[in-house]
Structures are given as structure tokens and as C-alpha cells.
Amino acid sequence: MRAAFGAVAVALALALVWGTKEASSALPADVVSPALRDGFTLAFSVLIESIPFIILGIALSVLVQVWIPEQWLFRILPKRPLPRRLVISLLGMFLPVCECGNVPLARGLVAKGYTVSDSMTFLLAAPIINPVTIITTHQAFGWDDGILVVRILGAIVIANLLGWLFSRHPDPLSLLTPTFAAQCEATPRGISSGKMWRSADMFVREASILMPALIVGSLVAGAIQVVVSRDQLVALGSDPLLSVVAMMALAFVISICANVDSFFILPFADTFLPGSLIAFLLLGPIVDIKMLALLRTTYRSATLLRLTVLVVALTAAIGMGVNLFV
């Protein structure tokens, strides 16, 4: 009986939202100013585009934490750190979720016992080293200008280098937010609840942590696009150094998923040098406004700042290097 109540409760909530949407859709378009309206439209499009991936990521994370035997997750990993991180970089091939979906998945892996630096390696590599992103990048660019090859190699280098750097940290748990670190320390002993309950509970808990971050990230991404004119960025296309900076700024602001960013950036291939396109394709999946908001649920601001600076530096170096020497 109570099971039916659960379904009814959700159905009622759905009906309430639907009723409100029906009513509000009758409002005239200019109920808010065009700039505000566009800002919301852009923000909502980022939100709606990301949400299926977040759901998939949380579902996979629940799978990893509740259903998959622990030995599986560790048996495949080499013991020594260097080859282990290399293998982790390739895990994305089996867990293809967009970059935002990787966040709940990485959280699940850390909760299961992966080290903080391992999780970073995964987060940095998986958005690019996965079949969907590789295929779409190839569809957009083929083998032109080495864009696909440098994207893949660049991701592996950045992920492993940063994973190695963070593994040198004397107190890895301090890289995490206190709330998440506490969550990981508390082992679920004495909880005799069934797997279904734990799955559902974990799903809702993860969603309640990640959704506010996603919403805030989307809002900021939308707002910035209304305020910053794209023309200013685009004027810099043919300069070997400034084009890279412009493309990295665009990647940071636009916050679209890694598995489609190739199609988005393809039209700019006429005006922008290849190195800048590579910089866009390397930076976007790792750090953009939306990702930083999501990562803030798990890593401290100081950690994220260091991560961002390092990734930006490496990406800029790769991009400018390609422009100047290739």
C-alpha cells in the first residue's frame, strides 16, 4: 500500500509542476526583459542538456557503490601508481558519461576506496577518453591537423601528470570538502538495509548534492554569455597565442558537454588556428563554469584553484605549441 503512495506522491508532484507550466506558458514572452529572458534560456539549455548525463552518472555511481563487488574495481588495477593511473585514464572507455556525469561516478569510486589522486586522473581523462567523444571528434575533424590525436594524447598527459602531482600531496583527504570526506570515512557498517533501499537513498542523496551545483553553474554560464559579446573573442582567430586564449575563454564559458563540443567548434575551424581548437577541446571537458560548480561538491576551492591553474597552463602550452611548431 505504502509503495503505491510513493508513486502517487511523485505523480502528484509531476502534475503540480505540469499544471504550473501550462498556466505560465500563456504568459506573454516579454514578461521579463529580453536580456534576462535570453540569459534564462541559455542557462536552462545548459541545465537540460546536462541533466540526462548527471542522471546516468549517478546511476552508474550507485551501481559501482552498491552492486559491483569491490574486487572487480581493484582487480583490474595495477599495484604501482604510474601504470595504475594510466589504466584509470582508460576507464572512461567503459563508462562513457559526459563530463558532468563523471562527477558522481568519481565520487562513487572514491567512496569505494580509490585514492583522491586516482579519482582526479579519472575525472580529467574520462570525458575525452571515451568512445562517444572520440567518435564525434573524428566525425567533426577526421584526421585533420592532428586535432583528434593531440586531443587524446593531451588528455592522457594532463590526467596522468596532474594525478601524479596530487598524489604527492601529504594529506589527500584534505583536498576533499569536509562533508564528502566525512561521507567517505563513514563506512556503512551495521546498515542491514537491502540493496534497493540503499540504491534509492544514494540516488536521491547524490542528486540533492549535485543538482544545486548544476543549477548554479548553468545560471552563471547563461548570464556570462549575455554579458560578454562573442564577437570580441572571435576577432582573435588567427593570432597563434591570443587565439588559444580566446578559445580557452570560450570553452570555459560555454560549458557544453564533451561529446558534442567538436560539432560546436567545427564551424570556427575556418577562422581559428588548429592549436586553439585543440585548447578548446582539451579545456572544456575538464574545467568550465558548470564543471567547477559540480566539482565544488567534492573538492575544496583551493584544490580546484590549483587544478584550474595547472590545467589552463598545460592546455595553453599544448595549444600554443601546436600553433607555433606544427
Binding site: 510513493g6 506522491a9 521579463v32 529580453p34 541533466i51 538495509s193 536521491v204
Partner: protein, 241 residues
């Protein structure tokens, strides 16, 4: 999450999802939304079933610490965003975004291929061309002889031409992933006195011929000279994908 998913499903059911994301994602998005709803329903059901029996688990969070300012702020912002998500009508991007992003900067597709098609095509080829195809062809040639005998009939919305008050751009947005990447494309239309009848963001069907531009102030060498202009309502799929 429940609110967001409900809105996503409403948008899909009312045909408005394409205002935000590319239709190729519709199946995936709706499937995930339904899975999430099922997860929420399961959680609600199980919660109700065991709510009275087991004490609330304290693992992972500390009731005694007050929520930090940042968390409070992000909760408030989140609530406001959800209120906007539910309370605002679905909307297309406005001319504000056209001004913010260069017209025809990108989004024209394979201009060379479209040009070839136009050079060898029959009249039904041109009838199928949208603003995007014509904008692409305009980048390939400004020879008026090419355009002779190739009539255009296009749908788009009005956006002002900053260089010539007697012209406007008939515009569409091209979207590759979701409206955040929307790129405006447009063709110049010469219609002196258009402001008396139409305003920015009005949707029009324009039929006419491309001719040499007589304007002294506009940089566009070729312009569409309309034979007929009719207002129309916004298409169900206002974005070109």
C-alpha cells in the same frame, strides 16, 4: 531534481524541448528523466515504508553544524532558478543574442557544397533552401548573374541592419547541441519603410530575388529584393539543426 525532470517532460510533451536542446538528444533525455522519476518514486515508497521503523541515518552529515553561508546562498539561488524554470514561459532566443554574436560568423554548414547544389539545381532545390543555405551561398559569390533565375522563399525573424535603415536581416538560429551554442545566420532583405509594418523578432515569409544591392551604406553586395512579404507565426521548430 524532481522539479527539473517534471519541467523537462512537460517541455517534451508540449513540443518545446527543441527550444533548448538538439532533437537528437530527445530520446536519451526523456529516457533518463523517466528513469530518474522511477528512482524518486522508489525512494518515496521505501521511505514511507520504513520511515517510522528505522531511525534517520546520521552518516555523512552533521545536524549540529549550521549550513554555511555559501550553502544557504546556493540553496536560495537554486530555488529562484527552479521558480524561473517553472514560472517562465518557454522562449526562443531574442535579437539581443543576435547582436551579441556575429551574424553568419559560423553555423553556415558546408558552404561549398551548398553552392555547388545551387549552381546545378532545379527550382525545387531553391524552394527547399532556408536562410542558412542562402547565407552560405552569399559568402561564396556576389555575382548577380549567378542569382538570376533563382527565386528564394524563406522564413525567418527580423533583426535590424545596423548599416542601412531600409534593410533588415531575415535571421534564424542554428543550433548544434543546445541553445547555448546557437549561432545566428541571416540574409539581408531590402524593404524601404519596413519599420512601418514590422518590428524586430517578427516572423516573416519572404519571397523574392537576389539582386545587386543599390545601398550606399551597406557592405552587403547582394540583397534579397522581396516580391511578397507575409507575417507568419513562429515555427514549432524555430531553430535550424
Amino acid at each position: 531534481m524532481g522539479v527539473t525532470i517534471s519541467v523537462v517532460l512537460w517541455l517534451w510533451a508540449s513540443g518545446n524541448l527543441s527550444l533548448y536542446i538538439h532533437p537528437r538528444y530527445n530520446v536519451f533525455t526523456v529516457t533518463m528523466a523517466i528513469i530518474a522519476l522511477a528512482g524518486l518514486a522508489l525512494w518515496a515508497a521505501l521511505r514511507l515504508r520504513r520511515g517510522d521503523d528505522e531511525p534517520h541515518s546520521h552518516e555523512g552529515h552533521d545536524h549540529s553544524s549550521k549550513p554555511r553561508l555559501a550553502e544557504r546562498a546556493s540553496t536560495i539561488v537554486g530555488m529562484l532558478a527552479l521558480a524561473a524554470l517553472v514560472g517562465l514561459p518557454p522562449a526562443t532566443l531574442s535579437t539581443q543574442t543576435v547582436e551579441n554574436r556575429s551574424l553568419n560568423q559560423s553555423g553556415l554548414g558546408d558552404a561549398g557544397a551548398v553552392f555547388e547544389e545551387a549552381a546545378s539545381g532545379m527550382s525545387d532545390t531553391f524552394a527547399a533552401f532556408s536562410v542558412r543555405e542562402w547565407a552560405a551561398i552569399l559568402t561564396q559569390t556576389s555575382d548577380p548573374a549567378f542569382y538570376a533565375g533563382k527565386p528564394a522563399q524563406v522564413v525567418g525573424f527580423v533583426s535590424e541592419d545596423p548599416d542601412d535603415p531600409d534593410q533588415f536581416y531575415l535571421t534564424r538560429f542554428v543550433v548544434s547541441c543546445c541553445s547555448v551554442d546557437a549561432q545566428p545566420v541571416g540574409i539581408p532583405v531590402r524593404l524601404p519603410g519596413w519599420r512601418d509594418s514590422y518590428g524586430p523578432e517578427d516572423w516573416l515569409v519572404v519571397s523574392g530575388q537576389f539582386v545587386l544591392n543599390p545601398s550606399s551604406s551597406s557592405p552587403e553586395p547582394i540583397v534579397l529584393s522581396p516580391d511578397a512579404v507575409e507575417p507568419t507565426k513562429q515555427p514549432d521548430d524555430p531553430y535550424l539543426f
